[in-house]
């Protein structure tokens, strides 16, 4: 076992545990966006940084391995200042409205608005370093851009993307090993991209949806959820989540069916399922339409679909 102190509290953790694990062991949950149980830490978002005695720089709790005798502070002035800056940079440049960070913004007194009004949306694919106008400094630079809808299953809204690498890692060696997406470009021009920024349908993507499963900000979203949200019909409070087993092959992947109005609106897999580690394939993730008679969301208006569910007429029978 490894012994260390977190905010003055002594804690013992197993060899190989991270500082984040140690914080959780003493019930001091840390904010993080890029960390997930089922992925190798990318330590990209920098929200979870903590102060480690003897270390020149702050260290990311998610990836720094705990060592004997470490003295860690998670709420020092230096940590709070850094987290405030990071949250301001992220929130002023990206749309974090679905990232669940409001409490953190408040807690760290982050004020994204002080960087000026947000710059307008622009095309951001294929930008080259130095090949774009120098900003005038009066507005907050943003990654705002059009939503990418190029297939029946996924929507990609990179206005919400914080480049946390989770999707890249889930598509890569951490789970799917398809390598359809990666980070392209440098600095503020960096984007998550398919090869040559082609449409998803022309890429290597196999639509496992594992990138969506790990996305912390809603930048990647199931099309069904995106359209229900756009129609103002997405209602998580009205959704039940039921754990069951996939109906396809014999591997026994556990599914969580998110059901609203007797309709499956999203399928996820629990991280604690040691078969899936939270990852699925296209059939488990999307192949449930055969138990819904509600028509294709892409062609049937949402309100008509849900009117049917509610028994208000329309095309649906159930």
């Amino acid at each position: 076992m490894i012994s260390l102190t977190i905010d003055g509290v002594a804690v013992e953790v197993a060899e190989g545990a991270s500082l984040l694990d140690a914080c959780r062991a003493v019930a001091r949950e840390q904010p993080t966006l890029c960390h997930a149980e089922n992925l190798t830490p990318a330590n990209a978002c920098r929200v979870c940084v903590v102060e480690l005695e003897g270390s020149r720089a702050l260290v990311p709790a998610c990836s720094r391995e705990a060592e004997d005798g470490m003295v860690v502070a998670t709420d020092s002035e230096r940590v709070r200042h850094s987290r405030r800056m990071v949250l301001e940079f992220l929130a002023s440049s990206t749309d974090l409205s679905l990232a669940g960070v409001d409490a953190w913004l408040e807690d760290y007194a982050a004020d994204p608005g002080r960087y000026g009004p947000p710059a307008e949306a622009s095309a951001r694919d294929g930008r080259r370093p130095g090949h774009h106008p120098v900003p005038d400094g009066m507005r907050a630079e943003t990654v705002a851009q059009d939503v990418k809808v190029d297939n029946d299953l996924y929507v990609r809204d990179y206005s919400r993307c914080i480049l946390c690498y989770k999707c890249v890692d889930a598509c890569g060696v951490d789970a799917q090993n398809t390598f359809a997406i990666t980070v392209a470009g440098r600095g503020f021009d960096a984007t998550i991209s398919t090869e040559f920024a082609v449409a998803l349908t022309a890429s290597a993507c196999v639509y496992c949806g594992n990138c969506i499963g790990v996305c912390p900000t809603g930048a990647l979203m199931f099309r069904s959820e995106h359209e229900l949200r756009a129609a103002g019909l997405w209602d998580e409070d009205a959704q039940s989540v039921t754990r069951t087993v996939c109906s396809y092959c014999g591997v026994g992947c556990n599914l969580e069916l998110h059901v609203q109005e007797n309709r499956i609106v999203k399928v996820t897999s629990p991280m604690d399922d040691d078969i899936t580690s939270g990852h699925l394939c296209i059939k488990g993730r999307f192949g449930y339409d055969y138990v819904q008679e509600l028509g294709d969301l892409a062609t049937t208006p949402i309100d008509e679909v849900l009117a049917g569910v509610r028994g208000e007429g329309g095309t649906a029978a159930r």
């Binding site: 297939n151 029946d152 299953l153 060696v173 789970a175 799917q176 090993n177 998803l200 349908t201 993507c205 196999v206 639509y207 496992c208 039940s240 039921t242 754990r243 069951t244 087993v245 996939c246 109906s247 396809y248 092959c249 014999g250 591997v251 026994g252 992947c253 556990n254 069916l257 059901v259 007797n262 309709r263 499956i264 604690d272 399922d273 040691d274 078969i275 899936t276 580690s277 990852h279 699925l280 394939c281 296209i282 059939k283 488990g284 999307f286 192949g287 449930y288 339409d289 055969y290 138990v291 008679e293 294709d296 892409a298 029978a317 159930r318």
Partner: protein, 516 residues
């Protein structure tokens, strides 16, 4: 991986394989196609369809000749080694190369790598079992595991990867012609007596017929009524033309299904069923014998009812009123009758997130792997037998008239006859095609997308061409997912394995004709 394209057919299982590969495990892939799985292999053995026994026997001979057998394990835990060694003696590398099309040196490399690995698994699926000699194919693989001791210990084993979410559970529950639940033999008076006492009912003490034999009995006029639950034989049976004729000739056909399948369309009575994985409570059993709970998330549509409720209602009509039966009550009855399930209460399944059988009592954690008894000192139970098996080529032979070997399989985004997977919009869906290698396409003068006629000794279909560079010359491929547009089972042969009843879906002789 032997006769398995798990990357497409069992994607999440393959995630675990990939983790092993990233950790330094070596993977050998035996498959006629250079499949998505084979692309991850250290070595791909592009075998000719239906020659697996020759390859396995030659590998066995190499292991014996090189002195790499696990003599201690063979001695303590197996029987029949001498007969096996004699049977594989004729399978020299030269002969195996001639039969299988795989270079002898590569067979030798596979054999030595397998025998010398500290732990090794042999995984297979329908590429092994959808043959007229399916059982012999499996036995040939088991022989290799017995030869090397790669069975019954952690990290080593024999892994048939199951293709459906409860095909294992179906067998475990006695949906086999010769077994009661828990693999208890229906012809064993003691086993049967236990069930009769619980059920208060006399059970016929004679094994029934498996699916293929049932179709033969229909042909012979001995079987005149059929009750089909959740199966679409009008499209899934080999030689589908014959299957449809026989289904049509029945006096009475009942189909219980989620959909009005092609089979249901011909039925006298259709019983609408709920989808058990999301509209009912119960359990399913996965490929690794893990019993897990399925739970109700949706109300079933219209008059659809759970399978359990339909069966209970039928029983009531037949004079056996069980009252309202819950899935848990049915399960608890099973636990009383099937020792290997006895310890799996719903509470424990919930708590542990599933249990792998056998699980004999409520303190038993279940078993991660089987056959550890072979390593006990002294070994428990009867020794594991080697089986001397011989190569037998596919029944549907190639000749000048039918020169191409058609094999079948799954695509990543689809499932079986497409009844379930056809319902969602998949960007990957390519529909029904005949897949050819580039060399054959050139030789035939056909281009991608061109409609051709594929002709076997039993039927013909017209489908568009798709070029797949993973196919070697002489080998063509069709998926089974799109029977409405590419009715592959019009072509396949009903030759079946006498022991398992499985038809030879994997080996059909065809020719391809240009249309118009």
């Amino acid at each position: 991986m032997w006769g398995s394209n798990a990357r497409a057919a069992h994607p999440i299982f393959f995630h675990h394989v990939l983790r092993g590969i990233h950790n330094g495990a070596r993977m050998y892939c035996v498959d006629p196609r250079r499949s998505e799985s084979a692309q991850w292999a250290d070595v791909w053995l592009g075998i000719d369809v239906g020659t697996d026994i020759a390859l396995a026997n030659a590998a066995g001979r190499v292991i014996i000749d090189a002195g790499l057998v696990n003599a201690e394990f063979i001695d303590r835990a197996t029987v029949g080694f001498d007969a096996y060694a004699a049977a594989v003696e004729p399978y020299t590398l030269e002969r195996a190369e001639e039969i299988t099309g795989v270079p002898g040196a590569v067979i030798e490399e596979l054999a030595i790598a397998y025998a010398t690995a500290p732990t090794a698994q042999l995984c297979w699926t329908l590429g092994i079992t959808e043959h007229h000699n399916a059982t012999d194919n499996v036995l040939a693989l088991i022989n290799l595991a017995l030869l090397t001791g790669h069975v019954g210990r952690y990290g080593s084993g024999l892994v048939p990867v199951r293709g459906q979410n409860n095909v294992q559970g179906g067998g475990d529950m006695g949906a086999l012609p010769n077994k009661l639940p828990g693999f208890q033999d229906v012809e064993d008076d003691d086993a049967r007596g236990k069930f009769e006492a619980e059920w208060g009912f006399t059970i016929p003490g004679k094994a029934g017929k498996h699916l293929t034999a049932m179709f033969d009995a229909m042909e012979a006029g001995e079987l005149r009524a059929l009750y089909v639950i959740g199966e679409n034989p009008a499209q899934s049976e080999a030689d589908a033309g014959r299957a449809r004729r026989l289904l049509g000739d029945l006096d009475f056909l009942v189909v219980q299904d989620l959909f009005l399948t092609k089979t249901a369309e011909t039925a006298d009575v259709v019983l609408p069923a709920a989808a058990d994985w999301c509209e009912a409570e119960g359990t399913v059993t996965s490929s690794e014998r893990r019993v897990q709970r399925v739970r109700k998330a949706l109300e079933p549509p219209g008059e659809a009812r759970t399978d359990l409720s339909v069966i209970a209602a039928l029983a009531a009509e037949m004079g056996h009123n069980w009252g309202p039966v819950t899935a848990q009550e049915a399960w608890d009855e099973l636990r009383r009758l099937s020792p290997m399930h006895a310890g799996m209460s719903y509470a424990r399944l919930e708590e542990l997130g599933g249990i792998q059988w056998p699980c004999y009592d409520e303190t038993h954690p279940g078993e991660k792997f089987l056959h550890s008894r072979l390593w006990l000192d002294p070994p428990e139970g009867r020794p594991a037998p080697f089986s001397a098996v011989q190569h037998a080529p596919p029944v549907d032979a190639l000749d000048d008239e039918y020169p191409l070997r058609l094999t079948t399989g799954r695509y990543l985004d689809s499932f079986n006859t497409g009844v379930q997977s056809g319902g969602y919009e998949s960007p990957l869906r390519i529909g029904g095609t005949i897949d050819l290698g580039p060399a054959d396409a050139t030789a035939l003068g056909v281009a991608e997308g061109e409609t051709v006629r594929v002709v076997s000794r039993r039927g013909a279909v017209e489908v568009p061409v798709r070029i797949d560079p993973g196919l070697r010359p002489g080998l063509v491929f069709m998926s089974l997912h799109f029977p409405d547009e590419a009715d592959v089972n019009r072509l396949t042969i009903e030759a079946w394995d006498p022991q398992s009843g499985t038809a030879e879906f994997k080996a059909t002789a065809v020719r391809i004709e240009k249309v118009g």
